[in-house]
Amino acid sequence: MIQRETLINWALFALLPATALIALWMDEPFIITLATKVAILALAGVGLNIALGLGGLVSLGHAAFFGIGGYAMGILASHAQSYAPLMQTPVLIEGTTSMPVIWLVAILASALAALAIGALSLRTTGVYFIMITLAFGQMLYYFAISWPAYGGEDGLSIYVRNGFPGLNTLDPIQFFAVAFVVLAAVLFFAGRLARAPFGLALAAARQNPERVETVGLAPYRLRLVAFVLSGAVTGLAGALFADLNRFVSPTMFSWQMSGEIMIFVILGGVGRLFGPVAGAALFILLEHVLGGLSDYWHVYLGGLLLLVVLFARGGMIGLAAGREVAHD
């Protein structure tokens, strides 16, 4: 029997490309751009959800990885644009405009950062963890603002979107396809992850770390690996987001960005695989509907968020699917 939540997930998932295709047919390229934005922000949320939903790690510093991914793209592409190599000694490293290469670099760079930040932060728990991740995010934010080499506060503009073999990424629908396929692949991976041995142990460590220790597994290492995977996915989303805008700036590192990524996860439902997709879609929709209604739309957004937190604890998918069912 197909569970109700699974049904909702697939419906949601299909909605995104359907929207993009209808927009293509109606010649509304901006709607495609919005759908692309949803896909990319959802990807960032899926990344956070690995740490937050599965591992119970409330990171208020995921903008750090989002920003690192963004700057990986910005730095590589700007060097390619100006034909100035990134590094000459000891090995020659040149910039690139190839998306797969940029993604790889973004994933590696943000995973590395997550390893360092996680190794230090995971020594703490609870509020301390929330605050230390916030502090690391702020550290990178201030660094990015005052680091003149790549534009400082002004950020970096990349005038032409990076390339993907065989595709014209400047065509909105083709870029959407790229982002959507990446999202689908990561969702598939995250779904498998949650059911794999690692996911079982990680989620157990969230529910009861003592239990996990007693069966001879170290929660710290489980969490660290989860944090690294989570950071890597969010970093990948950052690289795509930078490509969507053809622009990176330190605001990608800001703590409001961390808050927004967290909002996508919560709006959709913490720990639910497709939660971030629903959350990001709703957020973007609200931004455009409410933003058109009033200059003060943040008031309504805040009110809505408050209602979700207070009265709809499973998020939107939780509301629609009813109580979470344990499954094995």
Binding site: Y128, A135, Y142, S146, L301, G303, V309
Partner: protein
Amino acid sequence: MSLILLIEQVLNGLQFGVMLFLMAAGLTLIFGVMGLINLAHGSLYMVGAFAAAAVAGLTGSFVLALLASLIAAAAAGALVELLVIRRLYDRDHLDQVLATFALILMFSEGTRWVFGSFPLFLDIPAALAQPVSLPGGILYPAYRLLIIAIGLAIAVGLFQLIARTRIGIQIRAGEADREMIAALGVDISKLYTLVFALGAALAGLAGALVGAIQSVQVGMGEPVLILAFVVIVIGGIGSIKGALVGALLVGLTDTLGGVLLPPLFATFMEASSASSVGSSLASMSIYILMAAVLLYKPTGLFGSTT
């Protein structure tokens, strides 16, 4: 750098630290007693500043303005506690972070709705607008000395309140054991509202005091909020003593870092890039301090180890 300049900068760090303490004390009390992370604390700071500016504009009295900041922030705090916050006590930190993040959005845009987009005017009283001479030939703004004095007085008052009074006993009992306090026959929800309003009033007062020498504008609370969090995390969440020590540490590190690092870098770098690199590092310095403290003691300097 001359000694006089250095002493003056230490005073500046002290003043900044004392102001941070007013913010951090409320945050840490609220966490200690209710176990709540309140991101919207910065909004109460902003409410205090706006109330003070509005009242000062109407009456011209700075004392009334300070009073208004206390009352308005306490009232806003109590209201928010009654309507929203009390539903969050049994929730996990994640829900608290989100709900209070939502409150920030509402407070900020709501204030802009009421007061408009431009900064408001709030000035210090003329009597304090001149610097005073300190021993050793140091000229120091009278108003900043006043902030230091008020801050220290409040610190002493808070310690007394917690050590000596009935409410203090209840607060300590609440920190130690939430069930015990109910067993003592204390109306726990009233106590919570009271503590929240107290914390809010302190934040509001800080907003008004600082608003008079800075600018009263929407969003003024967030940078201070983050610093206040750094303070209580360094000091140990729930500890008033920790908040005081943490606030002074952060205040001094931030001020002295900004003053000392650029010339330090200038000793081995070209002047203008030294200034730029030095001030970048200075702006990161308190976060580095915080990370270092947490690595050494994962629950802060005065935090309980459990």
